[in-house]
């Protein structure tokens, strides 16, 4: 046995080296995959936070519109328009096509309501404009809440 080892120590060392290299490769792949999953999880959670913040802002705007505080609503709408553009740009790769379409529509609704509030005092708006405001109050916060839910669902799937 000793003789066999002394005669083939080079081959045995090579074989052991090969085995260690293979194990190192397997473990590094596992670690890389785990790191990738952790990064995906963090990104999705952050998308959820952005959606949650947007959803809160939309609810605030609705409250301002309902209590006829046009100036406060207009300011918050401008912020939410920017936030929506940010979400679309920042999370382009994470958002589905339908979510992006929905955000594009929300942003146009925000522009519309911004322009309506700038047009005349809320009490003087016509019936059609008031209908548009009511539709905004009904649809936009709900849409952000649903997008927040979709983002959370992705987080749950990754846990």
């Amino acid at each position: 046995m000793q003789r066999l080892l002394s005669q083939n120590w080079g081959n045995i060392a090579s074989l052991a080296g090969l085995l260690f290299s293979f194990l190192a490769f397997v473990f590094s792949r596992r670690a890389s995959k785990a790191a990738q999953q952790a990064q995906d999880f963090a990104l999705t959670r952050s998308l959820g936070e952005d959606m949650n913040n947007a959803s809160k802002a939309a609810s605030e705007i609705t409250a301002y519109v309902r209590s006829e505080k046009a100036e406060a609503a207009t300011m918050r709408i401008s912020e939410l328009i920017s936030a929506t553009s940010y979400i679309i740009a920042r999370w382009d790769a994470k958002l589905s096509e339908s979510s992006k379409n929905r955000l594009l529509k929300i942003r146009e609704q925000l522009h519309l309501v911004h322009d309506l509030l700038a047009k005349a005092p809320m009490g003087e708006l016509g019936a059609r404009d008031k209908t548009a405001l009511a539709r905004f109050c009904r649809e936009v916060p709900t849409a952000f809440v649903e997008e927040y839910g979709i983002a959370l669902r992705e987080v749950d799937r990754k846990v």
Binding site: I88, N101, E108
Partner: protein
């Protein structure tokens, strides 16, 4: 060149709208909106400009915006080759689709027949 692109775009949107493939939706009382593949939005208004009282003036206009909220181009009948009637035709076809006019008329007809 810019006009040629605008004309080509308009013709494609008109053709696709007639086929019912552009997802037009109402936005407010008279503006129509379609989000395309999560990248751009189309805004179709029954007027070209608004006066200081926010009253619409001129024929329909079509605005293309990108995902960053920038207006890429506006199609009006001032562009050579785009007739005001063609823009009106687009607006009417999109409006019928957005408000589901055909389905509603069919529904109303069957309701009336059952009276």
């Amino acid at each position: 060149m810019e006009n040629a692109q605008a004309l080509a775009l308009f013709e494609e949107i008109l053709a696709r709208t007639k086929e019912g493939r552009v997802p037009w939706e109402p936005l407010g009382s008279d503006t129509l909106l379609a989000a395309i593949k999560g990248k751009r939005s189309l805004l179709l208004m029954p007027y070209t400009t608004t006066d200081s009282w926010a009253n619409g003036r001129g024929g329909p206009s079509l605005t293309v915006k990108d995902s960053s909220d920038r207006e890429l181009l506006t199609v009006t009948s001032e562009i050579e080759g785009i007739r005001p009637e063609a823009l009106q035709e687009l607006y009417e076809a999109a409006r019928r689709q957005a408000f589901k006019v055909d389905e509603q008329v069919q529904d109303l007809l069957s309701d009336l027949r059952s009276l």
